[in-house]
Symmetry: C2
Subunit: 146 residues, 2 copies
């Protein structure tokens, strides 16, 4: 496979200028310079992530959050429209968030903005990736008889 190597630091939107259609939108959110106390709190991290999913109008299917020793929290929320995830490195005031959604109703950027605010993130950046590209427009949820 061909490789295209690129350095980026701020915001990248991949596959945005294209004649292709996507099944899903995936935001890779880098939350740098967050509130340290928030990043070490399982209750807060979980609460904000669940609230972000609801804020984006996602339908929550399953929630799984875990705290690691000596610190760091990993959390995943399966939604009907794909998933949200977070991994925190409180020692660096950093969290890596993913917001992967499909369909036209969910607004992944709303969830990202919500989390940037709640984590009091002073240096965020977002990469947007389109997933499941196709030259034809395809419903993200096909009918049973198609």
């Amino acid at each position: 496979m061909d490789e295209l190597i690129l350095y980026t630091k701020e915001v990248v939107i991949l596959n945005a200028i294209t004649e292709e259609y996507a099944l899903g939108t995936h935001l890779l959110v880098e939350l740098r310079k967050c509130n340290h106390e928030t990043l070490v709190s399982l209750e807060k991290v979980k609460g904000f992530m669940v609230a972000a999913a609801k804020h984006a109008k996602a339908t929550i299917i399953d929630i799984s959050f875990h705290e690691f020793n000596p610190f760091g929290i990993s959390g995943m929320i399966v939604i009907a429209e794909s998933h949200l995830s977070i991994h925190t490195w409180p020692e660096y005031d950093y969290a890596a968030v993913d917001i992967f959604t499909c369909g036209d109703i969910i607004k992944p950027q709303d969830a990202a903005d919500f989390l940037i605010e709640k984590f009091e993130c002073k240096d965020p950046s977002i990469v947007e990736m389109k997933r499941g590209l196709s030259p034809q427009k395809r419903p993200h949820k096909a009918e049973e008889d198609t």
Copy 2:
């Protein structure tokens, strides 16, 4: 924030040429033209994902897989080193896989190659993203007293 808009279809390695260090490596794997029967089987999708995590030497913390109506499977595996996820669209013979790992022991590419083989994927592509970049080299897991 500045925006850099870029069209890609094959393989992209983001942040590869950089003087910065990363806490994590995140592979966004597009599995096109997969075996249809595999993509509709909850047992197979779950089994291959768990096996991929083990194949990459990840430590599994939690597993959550769900089947949707009329079809499509979402699955997430929390690992001590971050996560794996999958969303299948069997109607398009397509699956979106994420393999997010930290540390030097885990080999995310091994998990990707394993899944490409097991899903009999005839048109894969991978985007590699570095997560948690910093000008300084930082351990992905800090000591308690640092």
